[in-house]
């Protein structure tokens, strides 16, 4: 028995272009212009899936984005995309689709046994049943429940498609290209304003695409052609406005899946656009509501407007007979068009009085009308066989399809995204926008204006207003077609089903929510619409309740004895329609996920066997192949190189700041806790700066280049923060200081030459420079020209050895680095990496980022004595607050491992020997290394009371690996406390 058929002529399909897609491994023929849904109906495939919870047979309900049932999984393998509405999928050659949530097939689904248990599965069933017997039971049951009830399954494979994004701007954004949208866009564009028209469908026209009126079609085409001819207008199909945000930011997503784009050629499957519009016209239309009656979910029960779309746009019609059930006039458009296509139509009209005009026109087409009637029940399981009518005409009518016309719900989602709640309009029997910001306008069905000529006039006005708001005054309105009339609506709101049957009456098809579930929610106290939604899952599917919300909240209002406006609506949030995650990620995936920062010496490191490690955004040379294949062995060798010979390390990542001006010295004197006002030219000083709350911000060395110019270095981690801090202080706190700052981090490369033979190495590299201790003492600096380029030499040490930092303009860094290695080769100089660099400083007891963690004071770090007593500096006042001076604060200590057969781990929790090993302890290890000098593991840590406990034995615990080790608290300066080496 055939239920639906392809009409021999008509529709917007291209019969000259046959298409062969595949569904469940079998061919699915159709034509260009078909959707997957229309092809299914044309092939009389009514049963297309199983419902979410009860696994009831389901068919297509709608023809647009609101489709609740016809969800398919598209593609194969890595390109699998689940839960795609068949109504939104172009039928194209190569399309592969399969049904979901049914096994082995929708036609014979073993999980349909759920339907027999349906009485158990009312709302709240899962929450009530699977919470026991123990506290964590839900976690045990949840995977099984999800497996049994659910949607499609996403692939875990990397998505092979490309997703792109862009930014765009316009004067007027028009959302929706129905009659109102076309009129708005054209009127706005005629003013000269830059107009963007976004249409989610595959063609422009909205409801006009479902009509068969030649004059309206001519008007549609004329509008489109004129828009396309205007250089200031852009119009996009397959483009859904997913959300509106502050500042008139609209997020548009265009779906290009039908083109099977090639990622290798840079073609995107989806394009996400962040569009900033001066004004926005919403012409988003309306969605028809179903009516609630027994077995209203049977395959073959569609929205009346969908039947009209299928017959006019896709030339697909019920085989012989259709029954439409309505509470308003708009169903008769579908009835007349179906009748014109040769379908015998019966209309059950909830209203007792139907207008004479409709009766006349329907009668002329042989349409039978039963006023005051509704559908009591639908007969048939996998297809519709007949309907039982109630009311004064209690008859059974055999039919192939049922059309539901329960009224129209304006699409108010976008107008609500900004936080303006929609308001209920009695005449519309639906919610309309509750208002608009000054730059937003609405037109057409979304405003409750359902007539064609009225919608066009409203759209034209909105377009003109929007253009004017954007600064474009003069325009020429778009007028309606000459014979366009305004259809009547005359709705008699109907929410409860016609009594007389016991079948399930569905409110939300996708979430399997019946009228009984709404009643149960009411009985159990979940009466707010927000509670109703969460208790029953109503409106929580991929369709977000586009067809179900109004019916449900109207029913709840009825049970509560309040009005619909009093019941209110749930909150509309972006995205408007389901969105592939890839579209959100765009190009920011893989290596493009976040920016990578590279030293000016990066290419040399790559070429010469460095292994890299991420340090913030930086790629840093961790260790080099010459020293070993693993960090555990390599860094020890590199440390030995520096302690016994000379090594070369890339320190270009340090922050570097140029500070100039007559007040530069005073500025630094305020920023650092120690004195800088009298730092001589040619000298470098170590400094520490605090935030104004008295907590340490950063440390570093600053050189005085000239009387009014300083060269500041910061830690790698805090470079950006220090630069911002200095700019803030100059602009907001001390605008009277005549100082300018500029970041030099990218301008200058830095390389540390460290070790007992450092001077010898540099003397070979720069034979003309006097590097003697007298000429360049510890903490001295000097600029000189080498190889035509200024080189800045700073004698300071991070390792504790005799050391220099050589700074040079980044463009010349590799050339200078190679020169030093080559010229100083007789000294045995080799590169050393970040691991050795960091380990050497632990031995010396220098604090770094792991200790400067924005929680510690100067005294915590043992630096309190540095602070000037007679000068002011940022953070001085709050540094002395009671808590910062508490004697039991966690303070810096050195730690030595006392058990040679064990190892230490960073982050280990520290306990006193007598403590129970439990909780947060008395501190933790911040930095740890193997000491080549002491031949044991050593560490820096923060410990309650700090060095007051020097000499005590404590415990380091690492619970993740169930390890414990005995340590001794010692001075954090493990080597050369007198500084003999660095003064060599």
């Amino acid at each position: 028995m055939t239920s639906f058929r392809r009409l021999p002529q008509g529709g917007r399909i291209d019969r000259a272009r046959p298409i062969s897609a595949r569904l469940g491994g079998k061919p699915l023929p159709g034509f260009a212009g078909d959707t997957l849904a229309s092809a299914l109906l044309a092939n009389d495939r009514l049963l297309i899936g199983r419902s979410f919870k009860y696994h009831r047979p389901r068919g297509i309900v709608a023809a647009g984005i609101e489709e609740p049932n016809a969800l398919f999984t598209l593609g194969e393998g890595a390109a699998t995309e689940p839960n795609v509405a068949a109504t939104m999928v172009d039928l194209v050659d190569g399309l592969v689709a399969r049904a979901q949530n049914a096994w082995p097939s929708p036609d014979f689904d073993l999980m349909a046994v759920n339907s027999l248990l349906a009485p158990l599965f009312q709302s709240g069933f899962y929450y009530k049943t699977f919470m026991g017997p123990s506290k964590g039971s839900w976690m045990f049951y949840e995977p099984f429940i999800r497996k049994a009830a659910g949607l499609g399954r996403a692939t875990a494979l990397p998505d092979p498609d490309r997703y792109d994004m862009c930014y765009a701007f316009c004067d007027v954004l028009v959302v929706g290209s129905g009659p109102a949208g076309l009129a708005a866009a054209l009127t706005a564009a005629r003013s000269g304003a830059r107009v963007v028209l976004a249409e989610q469908d595959t063609d422009f026209g909205g409801s006009l695409l479902s009509c068969n009126d030649a004059e309206q079609e001519a008007w549609r085409l004329a509008c489109i052609n004129e828009l396309k001819s205007l250089p200031n207008a852009e119009a996009f199909t397959r483009t859904t406005v997913q959300g509106l945000y502050d500042g008139n930011l609209a997020v548009l997503v265009q779906n290009r899946s039908h083109l099977f784009p090639s990622a290798q050629k840079g073609e995107a499957r989806m394009l996400l656009t962040q569009l900033r519009a001066r004004t926005i016209v919403m012409a988003t239309g309306a969605i028809e509501r179903p009516l609630v009656f027994s077995n209203n979910d049977r395959p073959g029960v569609l929205l009346a407007s969908a039947l009209r779309t299928y017959v006019n746009r896709y030339a697909v019609a019920p085989d012989k007979r259709a029954v439409l059930v309505t509470n308003n006039d708009t169903a008769y458009q579908a009835a007349l068009d179906l009748a014109a296509a040769g379908v015998a139509v019966t209309v059950a009209d909830h209203r007792s009085n139907v207008s004479a005009d409709i009766l006349t026109r329907a009668g002329a087409q042989g349409i039978a009308i039963f006023p005051g009637s509704g559908i009591v029940d639908v007969e048939g399981a996998k297809t519709v066989k007949a309907v039982k009518l109630g009311g004064p005409h209690a008859v059974t009518v055999e039919c192939d399809a049922v059309g539901m016309a329960g009224g129209w719900s304006p699409v108010v989602h976008l107008s609500s995204h900004g936080g303006i709640k929609p308001k209920y309009d009695e005449a519309v029997a639906g919610f309309v926008p509750g208002g608009f910001p000054g730059s937003h306008f609405g037109a057409g069905a979304m405003m409750g204006t359902f007539g064609l000529s009225a919608a066009i006039a409203e759209g034209s006005n909105a377009g003109a207003s929007a253009a004017s708001h954007a600064g474009f005054g003069k325009t020429r309105p778009a007028y309606a077609p000459e014979h366009a009339t305004d259809r009547t609506y005359a709705i008699l709101p109907t929410w409860a089903p016609t009594q007389g049957a016991k079948g399930k009456a569905f409110v939300d098809f996708q979430s399997d929510v019946t009228i009984r579930d709404v009643k149960v929610a009411h009985q159990e106290g979940y009466r707010s619409v927000e509670h109703l939604k969460r208790y029953t899952t109503l409106g929580m599917g991929t369709d977000q309740g586009k067809t179900s919300n109004i019916n449900a909240l109207a029913l709840m209002a009825e049970y509560r004895g309040i009005t619909i406006p009093e019941a209110g609506t749930t909150t509309f949030r972006p995205p408007y329609a389901p969105l592939t995650m890839g579209a959100i990620a765009g190009r920011t995936r893989g290596s493009h996920f976040r920016p990578v920062r590279r030293s000016p010496l990066n290419d040399w490191h790559v070429k010469n066997g460095a292994t890299f490690i991420d340090a913030g955004l930086w790629k840093r040379a961790w260790f080099y192949a010459w020293a070993g294949a693993t960090p555990e062995t390599a860094y020890v060798k590199e440390m030995e190189l520096v302690r016994r010979g000379v090594g070369l390390a890339d320190v270009s990542t340090l922050g570097k700041i140029d500070i100039q001006g007559p007040d530069a010295a005073e500025f630094l004197n305020r920023v650092y806790v120690n004195g800088f006002a009298r730092l001589p030219v040619g000298k470098v000083r170590y400094g520490v700066m605090l935030y104004d709350d008295g907590i340490v911000l950063d440390d570093g060395a600053t050189a005085r280049i000239t009387e009014n110019q300083f060269y500041m270095t910061t830690t790698t981690a805090q470079a950006g923060e220090v630069m911002s801090w200095l700019e803030y202080l100059l602009q907001m706190q001390w605008p009277e200081l005549n100082v300018q700052v500029a970041s030099l981090t990218d301008e200058w490369a830095g390389m540390a030459v460290s070790g007992p033979r450092a001077r010898a190495a540099l003397e070979l590299a720069f034979p003309e420079a006097d590097l003697s201790d007298a000429a360049l003492p510890h903490m001295g600096c000097r600029d000189f020209v080498f190889g035509g380029v200024t080189v800045r030499l700073l004698r300071m040490s991070f390792s504790g050895e005799l050391a220099f930092e050589v700074h040079v303009a980044a463009d010349y860094a590799i050339s200078l680095w190679e020169h030093i290695l080559k010229a100083a080769a007789p000294t045995g100089i080799k590169p050393y990496g970040l691991e050795a660099l960091a380990s050497l400083r632990i031995e010396k007891g220098h604090v770094a980022g792991l200790e400067l963690d924005h929680r510690n004071t100067l005294d915590d770090l043992g630096l309190g004595k540095m602070a000037g007593k007679d000068k002011d500096y940022v953070g001085k006042a709050l540094r002395f607050r009671e808590d910062c001076q508490a004697p039991d604060r966690w303070s810096l200590v050195g730690l030595e491992l006392m058990e040679p057969d064990k190892k230490l781990r960073g982050g280990s929790i520290l306990f006193a020997a007598s403590d129970e090993i439990k909780g947060h302890g008395r501190g933790y290890i911040t930095s740890v290394t193997w000491s080549t000098e002491l031949n044991k593991f050593i560490a820096l840590g923060l410990y309650k009371g700090g060095l007051k406990h020097e000499g005590e034995e404590i415990i380091a615990a690492f619970p993740l690996k169930n390890e414990q080790a005995r340590l001794k608290i010692v001075s954090p300066h493990f080597i050369d406390r007198e500084g003999a080496r660095l003064h060599a």
Binding site: H592, P595, N602, D658, G661, A742, A813
Partner: protein
């Protein structure tokens, strides 16, 4: 002599029929900042007219000037430029030539590519020749200068430049006729 090396020396070249993306080296970048009330007059004496707003460049001969902040300018000069030397002592002068890499985009699709990267209105009626934008690209600060109809210079932080190059050429992939190296 020490040799200069481009931060993009290891970058994969981009080749497109309608779009050219390439490093445009050979410039001197000097940042100057005021330390006296007559700073702009002094600056103008040396480099000529100054840009009136942050959004516009002033091109004087072979120099382009950008106003990058209050009393702060960039002077983009030729590879050898005496502007810094002539301004020495009259304001804060900071050489920044090594700190930036100049990436040039030229061709009809240039605006479409830029629109994929930065939240700026690139419409030809808005971002006209001479327009400057201080904005963000791939999470890093950049300065973009429209030098001609569909020609743009992007000044990128050196240490991010290779990554920004890859972001730009990836955004332009659909306009690439072919890659000169094998795609990865």
């Amino acid at each position: 002599m020490l040799e200069r090396r481009s931060a993009l020396a290891s970058a994969r070249p981009y080749a497109g029929a309608a779009l050219r993306i390439a490093e445009r080296p050979g410039f001197t970048l000097t940042q100057v900042a005021g330390l006296s009330p007559d700073f702009e007059a002094k600056l103008s004496d040396v480099v000529g007219a100054l840009p009136e707003t942050v959004a516009r460049a002033q091109v004087n001969g072979d120099r382009a000037l950008f106003r990058i902040g209050p009393a702060q300018f960039w002077i983009i000069g030729p590879e050898t430029d005496d502007a810094a030397a002539r301004l020495h002592g009259q304001c804060a002068v900071t050489p920044l030539t090594s700190s930036r890499v100049r990436i040039a985009l030229e061709g009809a699709p240039a605006r479409a590519v830029l629109a994929k990267l930065m939240p700026v209105d690139w419409d030809a009626s808005v971002f006209t020749p001479g327009t400057v934008a201080l904005t963000g690209l791939h999470h890093t600060p950049v300065t973009v200068h429209c030098t001609a109809g569909n020609a743009f210079d992007i000044y990128v932080m050196r240490t991010f430049s290779l990554d920004v190059w890859e972001a730009v050429t990836d955004a332009a992939l659909e306009f690439a006729g072919h890659r000169t190296n094998a795609d990865t």
